[in-house]
């Protein structure tokens, strides 16, 4: 399948960013390696699962822009439902996310609607629903033990949240590489008609990737909410742009049919490295945006088909 080849570019970008930041931090004399790695992985725990879900929909030539609202509403539902049992709250939040994904997948495939239109509708509706669920109030999580446990360092640099995110990518990569699902997803995204003719059940694939996207966004939202010990109707973070950026840096094509979970993980990690590393260096957020824009621009240029016609190829 040449999947490893698809991960070369994100790996190269990740390597360059990692080495540059490590060198800058060493020159600065910052030796808090453990704390910086913990921070990087905490951010990865927030954007990683969402980028994975969104990236999978992009590989299938669809687009789930409702991830931010799904994340927010799932966190709110989890806290509201967690009064007696935080596990029940988490199950409710993630269950709602799966249901949101299922609804979107069915609407997109069943009615032949554009996924952008459908997920935009969900984005707006869910944002309003979060205000209804919380009564436009920030709601604290009354389980301090859960907050402590979810953020507690494991082996110095990990936490429950980051281990969950890493596990998601590991499972997705295994399924992608070792089962027919990966091939069928690539085929669906490359040419849905040809894939259907070849016997791929493209409808089922699209519905499943939307469910995965909804479920992962909801899980990320629930664990972020539990980790911050508060649910906010206005959303705890801006996730859509970082998630799209991670997927693109990770080699996912906006036109579908290209990308891998490992590539998306590398894209998300690159973003986390940039974010946490530049924060540790004390670079202003405005400058950070410029650096991120430069990385995205470089990735876009590197993927431009015309570029390889301009650059002379070695024979």
């Amino acid at each position: 399948m040449g999947l490893i080849g698809e991960e070369k570019k994100p790996l190269a970008i990740f390597g360059v960013v990692a080495i540059s930041l490590a060198a800058a931090l060493v020159m600065q004399g910052n030796t808090s390696v453990e704390l910086i790695l913990f921070s990087i992985l905490q951010y990865f725990a927030t954007i990683g699962p969402v980028a994975l879900g969104l990236g999978l929909t992009m590989i299938a030539r669809e687009f789930d822009i409702s991830v931010g609202s799904t994340m927010s509403v799932a966190g709110c539902i989890a806290v509201v439902a967690s009064t007696s049992d935080p596990y029940l709250g988490a199950a409710c939040g993630i269950g709602v996310g799966l249901l949101i994904g299922l609804s979107q997948g069915v609407l997109v495939t069943g009615l032949g609607l554009s996924s952008i239109s459908v997920s935009l509708g969900f984005l707006i509706t869910l944002a309003g629903f979060a205000y209804v669920v919380t009564g436009n109030m920030t709601i604290p999580l009354d389980h301090a033990d859960v907050t402590s446990a979810i953020n507690a360092p494991v082996l110095g640099i990990f936490s429950f949240r980051s281990i969950f995110a890493i596990a998601c990518f590991a499972i997705a990569s295994f399924i992608f590489l070792k089962t027919r699902a990966g091939v069928e997803l690539i085929a669906t995204g490359s040419d849905p008609t040809a894939a259907a003719t070849a016997g791929v059940r493209t409808t089922r694939i699209v519905v499943i990737v939307f469910m995965i996207s909804g479920g992962l966004s909801a899980a990320a939202g629930v664990f972020l909410t539990y980790g911050l010990s508060v649910a906010s109707p206005s959303g705890l973070t801006d996730i859509l742009v970082p998630a799209i950026s991670a997927a693109i840096i990770g080699g996912v094509s906006l036109t579908g049919g290209r990308g891998t979970p490992i590539g998306i993980a590398l894209g998300a990690l690159t973003l986390c490295l940039l974010n946490a590393g530049l924060n540790a260096l004390g670079v202003s957020p405005v400058a950070q945006q410029v650096v991120l824009a430069f990385v995205l621009f470089t990735v876009a240029v590197a993927a431009a088909p015309q570029l390889y016609r301009i650059i002379p190829q070695r024979s």
Binding site: T138, L236, N279, S284
Partner: protein, 328 residues
């Protein structure tokens, strides 16, 4: 035995040196990591600039990180700041609840946190000190200004409304609490609507326009409270667009602001806004914050909560007094 004596002497010398270095400690050379909301916001921008200037003048080095009202990003920035091991983190909490876990991690790492602009509820033991506005009092004073204005216009009954900042948590709920509690003792005033504009003047302008349309059939609103001067200015603009006269006479709309901003002072002088409040004032608040932080590094005990002083109503009677400190 000689080794033991040497060890005891070395320990005593080290302890004395440590004590002396603490006794002479001060703000000079201290590294501060300063976490705020977006500097596109006029108040945050002014506060940040003045705070950095004053802290630098006191010999401290300031590294600022901003977040676009994103509590999760700020929590992550707090973790990053802990990784930098500064001498202190100065924090404008974007979500009182969401920063609590990270404040616990800062405490565990031995890094003191000083809170500015907004407060952290249930932050006892987690923050070294706070410099903010008495938000409940701010709401009460806004209500008092509104009552004074209506009484001065000879009103014996009134319908009033409020357009607020983000009501989910933080500053706005406390101001609403003060505003409502003061109005509760004035049964002739009916608080008919409170709307959340999320601190955004364009949203405030839109909501004001909708309120004018809604209440026009019932004789219109008598007064409207915009939670800061940027929002009260938006109300003034919406009223101008709708052809509503501003003032405290019958058929006119009384506009109450807050936050001591240039637009508030300008509108009061132009007769378009009845009042604003003398806080928060970046000039005073930043000076006081830097003094408290310097005291902390000098080993002095600082209060858990410090507030903007004086906090009073600004009307045409005292605009000149506040024209300069409210110039932002």
């Amino acid at each position: 035995m000689t080794r033991l004596k040497t060890l005891i002497l070395a320990t005593a010398l080290a302890s004395t040196t440590g004590f002396l270095s603490f006794a002479h400690a001060g703000p000079e050379g201290k590294k501060l990591t300063f976490l705020t909301g977006p500097t596109e916001d006029r108040f945050i921008s002014t506060f940040s600039t003045l705070f950095t200037e004053k802290a630098t003048a006191a010999g401290m080095a300031v590294t600022q990180l901003t977040s676009p009202f994103d509590p999760a990003l700020q929590a992550q920035q707090l973790d990053d700041a802990i990784g930098q091991k500064p001498d202190m983190i100065v924090l404008q909490p974007l979500s009182s609840g969401a920063v609590l876990p990270a404040l616990g991690r800062a405490k565990a790492a031995g890094i003191p946190v000083f809170v500015v602009i907004s407060q952290v509820d249930k932050g006892e033991g987690l923050v070294a000190g706070t410099m903010a506005l008495d938000e409940v009092r701010s709401g009460e004073l806004a209500a008092e200004a509104l009552i004074d204005g209506l009484k001065a216009g000879g009103k014996s009954s009134a319908k009033v409304a409020a357009i607020t900042g983000s009501a989910a948590e933080g500053i706005a709920p406390k101001r609403i609490q003060g505003f409502k509690s003061r109005l509760a003792s004035e049964p002739w005033i009916q608080l008919v609507q409170i709307e959340d504009a999320n601190w955004a003047p364009p949203v405030a302008e839109q909501i004001a326009g909708q309120m004018f349309a809604r209440y026009s059939a019932e004789g219109g609103l008598d007064a409207l409270y915009g939670m800061n001067d940027a929002m009260s200015n938006a109300i003034v603009e919406a009223a101008d667009s709708a052809g509503i006269e501003l003032g405290n006479q019958t058929g006119q709309l009384l506009v109450i602001g807050g936050g001591c901003q240039t637009s508030g002072i300008r509108n009061i002088k132009a007769g378009k806004q009845y009042s604003t409040l003398s806080g928060p004032r970046p000039l005073y608040d930043t000076q006081k914050s830097v003094e408290l932080i310097s005291d902390y590094f000098s080993g002095k005990t600082i209060p858990a909560m410090s507030v903007t002083e004086p906090l009073e109503i600004i009307t045409t009677k005292n605009t000149d007094q506040y024209a300069e400190p409210c110039n932002y």
